[in-house]
């Protein structure tokens, strides 16, 4: 594991000590190390290649300051590049319409239902009237799960346990919201694989019927190389507005975040970091960059130099 990228990079540079400028020759090994580190962090291998090619360009001809090592400089360049790639500023969700509709989609077990509860709680704390809607009609006890969360956070849950048509349930929920003055409707849906035609049709129909002002793709931050395929397939069908990264309370490096951002060019809007309803945060690109690189203080160190 790459616990400290800049140390690795320094090693790669050691053979070339005394050189004060980053050149084609001495950058090659280093770029390879960076690529390895990215892949180890689960960044998609194609994305890792593109990104490191960009980094190589940026690094060429740069002068190495006396107070920092070339490895540190490269790390800083890499970190800046990743931060930039992940979108700079954090982006808000769009809440528009009466009621405003937020559609939640993603793979099985990614954390959609938990996130739906968290988002409802977050919006409720801002003083908004929220309704949760249980549109997962497949998974055993999925409706009950959302109802339990709704009860915990004091948000009403709309469900029709006997109804086997997710679109009808969602539409009825909107009618219910209008009647009862709920200003935001969050629609939790079943987990589905991108290759499941029938289920992908269902989520596409939901999106069409509801015209949500925000569609969020929920993804497990531990996902590996497949993240790009899935994100792309969901985006092709849904043209979603943003991404939610879950389970970041663990020790995953979360390279999938970079891959998805790069491939679908949609902002990451929230991060989920725990099972409790409060464990929700906004996304900070710079923190994510450092996390993927597996380093904390190198950047500040370089900044001071």
């Amino acid at each position: 594991m790459f616990d400290n990228l800049s140390l690795k990079l320094d090693k790669a540079f050691q053979t070339l000590k005394g050189q004060g400028r980053i050149t084609e020759i001495n950058v090659a090994t280093t770029v390879k190390e960076i690529r390895k580190a990215l892949i180890d962090a689960d960044v998609n291998y194609k994305v890792a290649k593109e990104v490191t090619d960009d980094i190589r360009e940026k690094a060429m001809g740069q002068n190495v300051l006396t107070s920092i090592s070339p490895g540190q400089l490269l790390t800083k360049i890499t970190n800046d590049e990743l931060t930039h790639l992940m979108g700079g500023e954090s982006v808000d969700i769009t809440i528009e319409g009466n009621p405003a509709i937020i559609l939640i989609a993603g793979l099985q077990g990614s954390g959609k239902t938990t996130f739906s509860g968290k988002l409802a709680s977050y919006l409720k704390k801002q003083g908004r009237q929220v309704l949760l809607t249980a549109c997962d009609i497949y998974r055993p006890a999925a409706i009950k799960q959302l109802q339990v969360l709704g009860e915990q956070i004091g948000v009403e849950v709309y469900a029709e346990p006997e109804n086997k048509d997710a679109v009808k349930i969602a539409k009825a929920a909107i009618a219910h919201a209008k009647k009862n003055n709920h200003r935001i409707v969050i629609v939790d849906t079943a987990g589905r694989l991108a290759v499941d035609e029938e289920m992908m049709n269902e989520i596409a129909r939901l999106k069409e019927a509801l015209a949500p002002s925000e569609t969020l793709f929920v993804v497990d931050s531990m996902t590996g190389q497949d993240a790009v395929n899935t994100a792309k397939a969901f985006n092709d069908r849904l043209n979603f507005d943003g991404v939610v990264l879950t389970k970041l309370d663990g020790d995953t490096r979360g390279g999938a975040a970079l891959s998805i951002r790069r491939v679908v060019e949609k902002p990451i809007k929230f991060i989920s970091m725990g099972e409790k309803m409060e464990a929700l945060d906004r996304f900070y690109p710079d923190r994510m960059a450092s996390r993927i690189l597996g380093m904390g203080d190198v950047v500040t160190l370089v900044e001071k130099a």
Binding site: G109, G111, T113, L193, G224, Q225, T252
Partner: protein, 299 residues
């Protein structure tokens, strides 16, 4: 398949008449392995082994490379220690056979238990399930519904009760009712949460008060789409609970689950089952050869 052929076709062209594998071939190979989540370290290991074989055997064509490659990858996958367990059997003279199912959040533990119960039942075994996930919202209901669906009893004490007590009572009920198989569902937990990990150790210990050598199998469930973190999961869960088998889920998607090769190699834990869907019948006994073949198949 077309893509598969073209990959080995490419390899072939680059290899004819050579006694070493050149960079282009290795790059191609590396790409395929890495794209399947095999990880850099294991990929390098596989490539080194192939280079060794190639320089020793002076192989000639693509067919040989193809089979060498497959052989080397298969060799990294550890054997199931008990071949009798293959077709949803339990070891002779072990009754009840106690399985504890562990893993991080949302990987498919409860679903795998539901499917596994159905298979054991089909094989003529009596099964009892224990709902020791008393934490996640509606987890107990989920397992109960699986129990109803499959027709096996579920021991539950409700939400927010002590998971160890549930496990204890389940094993006790299993012994009383002369069950063949007892499966304990546990709450999903990230391996970084120290308290939750030691809770698993406790659940294990408590079961041993009833059946001293329980659990006979600690099954770690891994999500097939998980990347390199699965390696850390295997390490940490093994530390806490001595994991003895793996189940890889969600392989009906486009993810390849290649990380399991490194896990199997490093920790010598056999993969026993794979999950290929959400339905009762979507559980298969792991087959090394088929798994390795699927790595080289493009979606």
């Amino acid at each position: 398949e077309k893509t598969k052929e073209s990959f080995f076709g490419k390899l072939g062209k680059a290899l004819v008449g050579k006694s070493t594998v050149d960079d282009e071939v290795l790059d191609n190979l590396e790409e395929i392995l890495v794209a399947s989540d095999v990880g850099i370290n294991t990929t390098v290991k596989i490539i080194e082994r192939i280079q060794n074989r190639v320089s020793k055997d002076k192989y000639l064509g693509t067919t040989e490379l193809d089979s060498i490659l497959r052989e080397e990858v298969v060799a990294l996958l550890s054997d199931t220690s008990d071949t009798d367990l293959k077709e949803f059997e339990t070891p002779p003279n072990v009754k009840p056979y106690v399985i504890m199912v562990v893993g991080v959040n949302g990987v498919g533990k409860t679903t795998t238990i539901g499917k596994l119960s159905a298979q054991y039942k089909k094989a003529g075994k009596s099964v009892i399930l224990g709902a020791a996930d008393t934490f996640r919202a509606a987890a107990v209901d989920q397992l109960k519904l699986w129990g109803e669906r499959v027709g096996v009893p579920v021991i539950a004490k409700g939400m927010n009760t002590d998971p160890s007590a549930v496990a204890f009572e389940t094993v006790q009920a299993g012994v009383e009712q002369n069950a063949d198989v007892i499966i304990i569902d546990t709450a999903g937990r990230l391996h970084t949460k120290v308290n939750l990990m030691s809770e698993l150790t406790k659940i294990k210990r408590v079961m041993q008060k009833v059946v001293p050598d329980a659990p006979h199998d600690v099954m770690l469930v891994l999500d097939g789409s998980t990347g390199q973190n699965a390696m850390v999961q295997a390490r940490e869960f093994t530390k806490a609970t001595e994991v003895s088998s793996l189940a890889i889920t969600k392989l009906d998607g486009t993810a390849k689950g290649g990380v399991v090769i490194g896990i199997s190699d490093e920790f010598q834990i056999p993969v026993r089952y794979i999950g290929v869907g959400e339905k009762v019948e979507d559980l298969q006994v792991f087959n090394k050869k088929e798994f390795v073949d699927s790595l080289f198949k493009k979606n």
